[in-house]
């Protein structure tokens, strides 16, 4: 049976709407940004409340100059995560475009891949221009599991959705923070505008892919999906804490620093807040069975 054959009309309505928006709001990213030659070091590169020290004593103990340096390197790390995350998701979508099961989505996939390629370009440009590098991706790059193709498709689109929703949490807040440099706000605002469409589509696709799996597979298989996604949510939020960024900001003992932050109750609250909207979506739709344990 085709993966799309049992889907309701709602995904078609969403596809019509977001393809129209993609066409109507298309912009040329290579002309949109007026990149300053350099950005001042002594400034907030991201909102202080979004940094990984927020909610811990380090937010008070470090000097403003140290915190500003950390905000720079955490920003470069965040945009580097975007570059790597987008490359991974584009590869997965390209694997599925115009293949059986994705007939209806393929038209949108063309827009998605094009837009994501452009996002990857402006995030990479920001990193290289203002940080002089893109942080290396150390995530495992081998295939995770040999699971059934339809389960793999659900996991792929669930991972894409989780990644996009976490990034959007930051984009919305950075884009709306008028104390930040205009180019920082612009990059985040433009990404947020495009991602709103991708997230709307991703939520509908994940719901429908899961409803097909729920009719077909045993509870044991579905529990394995549930467990994997809960672990993925946790791993995703932990990936925001970068020893390399701490080292570049001259934080002593960056690994110990990272461990202390991850164990701090204030950070658990922040992590839960970052993931709340996403966890609510997965639990509300019965894909993840309980609130993810973020400890």
């Amino acid at each position: 049976m085709s993966q799309t054959s049992t889907r309701t009309g709602s995904i078609e309505q969403i596809l019509d709407r977001i393809i129209g928006l993609s066409v109507d709001t298309y912009y040329n990213p290579y002309k949109t940004f007026q990149w300053p030659d350099e950005l001042p070091e002594a400034q907030w590169w991201m909102s202080p409340g979004l940094m990984t020290v927020a909610g811990t004593p380090y937010a008070e103990e470090l000097s403003e100059a140290q915190l500003m340096a950390l905000s720079k390197w955490e920003s470069i790390h965040f945009y580097s995560l975007n570059v790597h995350g987008i490359r991974d998701l584009v590869l997965e979508v390209v694997k599925r475009i115009h293949t059986p099961g994705f007939e209806k989505e393929s038209e949108f996939f063309h827009h998605f891949v094009g837009e994501e390629n452009e996002h990857m370009w402006f995030f990479a440009t920001f990193c290289l221009k203002y940080g002089g590098k893109i942080y290396v991706d150390k995530k495992a790059s081998w295939a995770i599991d040999s699971v059934e193709p339809d389960i793999e498709s659900l996991l792929v689109f669930a991972r894409i959705l989780i990644f996009e929703e976490i990034v959007d949490y930051f984009n919305m807040r950075i884009g709306g923070d008028e104390t930040l440099h205009p180019i920082i706000r612009q990059v985040n605002n433009i990404h947020h505008q495009d991602e709103s469409r991708h997230i709307a589509f991703g939520r509908e696709l994940v719901k429908q892919l899961f409803s097909q799996l729920a009719q077909k597979y045993s509870q044991e298989k579905l529990q394995a999906v549930d467990q994997y996604l809960r672990r993925y949510l946790l791993a995703s939020v932990q990936s925001l804490y970068s020893p390399a960024a701490y080292r570049d900001a001259d934080v002593p003992n960056p690994y110990k620093f990272r461990t202390e932050l991850l164990e701090h109750p204030g950070r658990r609250e922040h992590n839960a807040k970052i993931l709340k909207r996403t966890v609510d979506f997965f639990t509300h739709n019965g894909i993840v069975s309980e609130q993810a344990d973020l400890r």
Partner: protein, 81 residues
């Protein structure tokens, strides 16, 4: 198991995440047997970086260095990965 305390630390780290395993042989395939998987790999890399005091080149080409305790000892603890 050799007497290298760093290797013992690696083994302890892995066993603490897989309580169903009583022990790990030096040549036990950690990836094939899912002692390390894609979701725990980054934390494992950070643990090894802290242990060795240097950044590791964790890429698809170097994945075999992480495949067994024997390889970790040779390529990471005593090597230059």
């Amino acid at each position: 198991m050799t007497g290298d305390p760093r290797l013992a630390s690696v083994k302890d780290w892995l066993l603490s995440r897989k309580p169903e395993l009583a022990d790990l042989d030096l040549d036990f395939d950690l990836i094939e047997n899912r002692v390390i998987d894609s979701l725990s790999f980054l934390e494992f890399v950070f643990f090894l970086e802290e242990l060795t005091g240097r950044e590791l080149q964790a890429t698809a080409e170097t994945v075999n260095a992480f495949r067994s305790l024997h390889n970790i000892q040779k390529e990471i603890l005593n090597g230059s990965l």
